[in-house]
């Protein structure tokens, strides 16, 4: 018996009448190729469902379906959603997942408010406030001297995500890569922030950051044109 693709999937989904379903089940049982396909598709669906099912556990917000009063309030609400200041226990749990240097406490230590350059979102460290702005908008090729975060290298990592190194964030340097529409901080290293000079090379001054870049980078760092194109493409 030959089974067309749609009938096969309808059987897999329990959409066939009992007698038709029996026929397909018999055919699948008798044909190792079909049996393997059924197994592969079931496994793929389980994996897919599992990946999305984590979302079901999030609590329902207190207020839903209300129009924001004004733009500022909407923005504040959004920022609130994006930037949860890191508290100690959460931070301690996350430390294990990050490549860490010294001096990190100065950046995301307890008690910092929403101006902290690093925030925790769903257990991930992400760039926030001034650091997020710098990663989004600053081109290493067009940087002026002065205070604030500085961007070093821009490149793609082995997973194809865009990564940018930075320095001058509370005396620390680090690396952030794009994931889920945010800059996930992959490493933060205290001290040794450059003062003047060649900042694009300065990103490599901290040996730990250099090692992390070395480990992450796939191909060459972006030149000025590629960096600008990546920005125009929304760092995707």
């Amino acid at each position: 018996m030959t089974i067309d693709e749609e009938t096969f999937f309808a059987w897999l989904d329990g959409e066939l009448e009992a007698s038709a379903a029996r026929q397909v089940a018999d055919a699948v049982a008798a044909d190792p190729v079909l049996a393997r396909r059924a197994h592969e598709h079931r496994a793929m669906q389980d994996k897919l469902r599992l990946a999305f099912n984590g979302l079901l556990d999030a609590p329902v917000p207190d207020r839903i379906g209300e129009a924001p009063v004004d733009f500022a309030a909407a923005k504040a609400k959004r920022d609130e959603r994006r930037e949860v200041p890191v508290r100690l226990p959460q931070w301690a749990a996350m430390a294990a997942t990050l490549v860490l240097g010294l001096g990190i406490g100065a950046i995301v230590g307890p008690g910092r408010g929403s101006d902290s350059p690093v925030a925790a979102v769903q257990g991930q460290m992400v760039a926030a406030a001034g650091l997020e702005r710098a990663l989004d908008t600053q081109l290493a090729s067009a940087q002026q001297g002065g205070a604030g975060p500085r961007i070093g290298l821009t490149f793609r990592n082995g997973e194809g995500a865009l990564c940018r190194s930075f320095s001058g964030v509370a005396g620390s340097s680090g690396l952030a890569c794009r994931a889920g529409g945010q800059w996930q901080v992959k490493g933060l290293f205290g001290g040794q922030a450059g003062q003047g000079g060649d900042y694009r090379m300065a990103a490599g001054e901290d040996p730990r950051l250099a090692a992390l870049i070395e480990e992450s980078i796939a191909g060459e760092p972006f030149d000025a044109a590629a960096e600008r194109a990546a920005q125009e493409n929304g760092w995707r």
Binding site: E40, H41, L48, A51, V60, I64, G180
Partner: protein, 164 residues
């Protein structure tokens, strides 16, 4: 016709599924969260259009899908010239079939983004949410035959993207 409080109660009950549906359609978490907010506001504003006793999930999913399509269309016009770079995102990434047992959300979302919109919405409703073909055809206002052929193409493509 439902009152605002009845509607809000329904929204609360269906919130987790609504959120999962939005994530399975959207390209990233920020877009998905924005979509959920928009859907909730739209639903509250049009509570007179939902009949108490009728299926709330079909109604709210239809609103979600329509708002999402609007966003995709307006964005499509805006960054059409960026499409090739986006489409190339997963290229070169070996999903190592059979080895990676579990899948994280962002990888799953990326794979979903590789599907054409009309396949993605069917996969989201049937494979991820678990709706039946008839229910999905009601949400999308499409014949069951169309649902079933898009589902077949979508899951074949996903199997290739995600491995076993």
């Amino acid at each position: 016709m439902a009152s605002r409080s009845e509607l809000e109660a329904q929204l609360r009950e269906h919130w987790p599924r609504l959120r999962r549906f939005a994530y399975s359609l959207s390209r990233d978490a920020a877009d998905a969260d924005d979509l959920v907010q928009d859907v909730a506001m739209r639903a509250m504003a049009s509570c007179d259009q939902w009949q108490v006793g009728s299926r709330f999930d079909s109604w709210i999913f239809r609103i979600t899908r329509n708002l999402w399509i609007d966003t995709v269309r307006s964005r499509g016009r805006r960054d059409k010239h960026h499409a090739p770079a986006e489409a190339g995102e997963l290229v070169g990434q070996d999903p190592t079939p059979g080895i990676e047992a579990s899948l994280d959300l962002s990888t799953a979302m990326k794979a979903m983004q590789k599907l054409p919109d009309e396949q993605r919405e069917v996969i989201a409703l049937i494979l991820i949410d678990g709706l039946g073909y008839r229910e999905a055809s009601e949400v999308l206002d499409l014949p069951i035959g169309t649902i079933s052929s898009r589902l077949a193409r979508g899951r074949t493509a996903l199997l290739e993207l995600l491995g076993e």
